[in-house]
Symmetry: C2
DNA sequence: CTCGACACTGATCGGGCGATCATTAGAATG
DNA sequence: CATTCTAATGATCGCCCGATCAGTGTCGAG
């Protein structure tokens, strides 16, 4: 009645079970089976949330439910591995270097970086697991927010200061106000993914153009505001 | 077994109210009981999500679980009423008038509007139910997004055009690109609430100052970008 | 071709879920 | 104070959950 949820999510080549009337017992190596379960778990929990049942997950894999417990001691352990899979294994260190590559115009760096970054996070799996885990209240999102601040926002902050000939970090240290301003921008980009992939409300612009215009507006509006912030910070009342 | 007795649900003023520590059975008027259940349901589902059990909800109220079913035919109906309570009953029509009140500077209107608006939505209950319902995939978030676009963003769009002497809607109709730009801003503000009340990662700025700086940056950066968009729209290649 | 290791299954346990119903008790009425 | 209406309860149903374990069948080593 409620969720329809396309039934056949079949990742395996060969013939395995689309609505299997008779699924043959398939014996895989432990490594391969474990990987297969984990991959399916990411997809499945992203769809239905972490309250989804292990039986339904097993059905999607074409195996029985106890098999999951041979590879993961408890459902909670499986979920923990799902976090690792989604959060940790997708980050590309090059992205950070790109942001700091002063041989390219800042606008181009930002557009390219956010194009690649959103290629990772604008994915139903990533976004939904991000939200589900945040709502569950384990600390992983706090960790992620710190990560974004240090790896992305702080770096953008530094580059904007350099490009717009504002004081360097050595002269005036990073201000919380600056970081929060870049959060407005970053969160605004994030919200595009939320609208599109979680709420399924199609935005007006395609992603590329959206990023371009958002970057343009940010680069035009943020530096003047930051100049004021830094002036206040350098010469407090 | 577990007579927990957190008996603070003592709603009725009226008579004496010695708050009997036993008070086995409390008989309320249907209206009052219904209201009480609904209110508790908002808080409870916001905490644990819609997979939370009706028994735990009843325990919080100090009543038995079947009583809920006397007032709400099914859990799904109760949840639907929770949506109505949270989404529909909190909106203030004056806010919209405020945005269009040209006797005030646009910056002040925006800062005041977003202060009041965030007073409503930056609340664990509102934010969490917003996310939970979005993840569940019922259409209410799509409805909300349309609502925001029409009641808030479109209006801001109109006021920015007027203040910055850009073409009126009659001259050049609203562009999807404009709306999406204001979504970047709006989503950026929303993300502040997400960081603070869902992920419990305290931002650097307090809310008021955050809104002020975000509005300042937006008002500085968005109009030039929009001028370009409108020029393109008025004279296409 | 045989056989043993072990990847996998079927049956099952205790418990929590949404929902139903006959029963009980609190307050307004006479 | 007895009566009556009905808000609220206690018991219970059928189902699905996470987890366990004895058994089964497959496949590679000999």
């Amino acid at each position: 009645m409620d969720h329809d949820l396309s039934r056949e999510m079949n990742g395996k080549p060969g013939r395995a079970a689309s609505a299997p009337p008779q699924a043959r017992r398939q014996r895989l190596s432990p490594d391969e089976r474990r990987r297969q379960i984990l991959e399916a778990a990411v997809t499945y929990f992203a769809e239905v949330g972490f309250d989804g049942g292990t039986r339904a997950l097993a059905r999607k894999l074409g195996v029985t439910q106890p098999l999951i417990y041979r590879y993961f001691p408890s459902k909670e352990d499986l979920i923990r591995e799902v976090y690792n899979e989604v959060y940790l294994s997708r980050w590309r260190a090059e992205w950070e270097d790109l942001l700091s590559d002063r041989s390219l115009p800042l606008r181009e760096r930002l557009v390219t970086f956010y194009s690649r970054y959103t290629e990772m996070i604008f994915d139903s799996k990533w976004l939904r697991i991000y939200l589900f885990s945040g709502l569950r209240g384990i600390g992983i999102n706090q960790w992620w927010i710190t990560f974004v601040e240090e790896r992305i926002l702080r770096r953008i902050c530094e580059e904007v200061r350099h490009t717009h000939r504002l004081p360097s970090f050595a002269e005036v240290p990073v201000q919380g106000a600056e970081i929060d301003l870049y959060w407005t921008f970053h969160g605004g980009v994030f919200y595009y993914g939320l609208r599109r992939h979680v709420y399924r409300a199609e935005p007006h612009l395609d992603l590329r153009r959206f990023i371009e215009l958002s970057v343009d507006s940010m680069l035009e509006g943020t530096p003047p505001t930051i100049r004021r912030i830094l002036a206040e910070a350098a010469a407090p009342a």
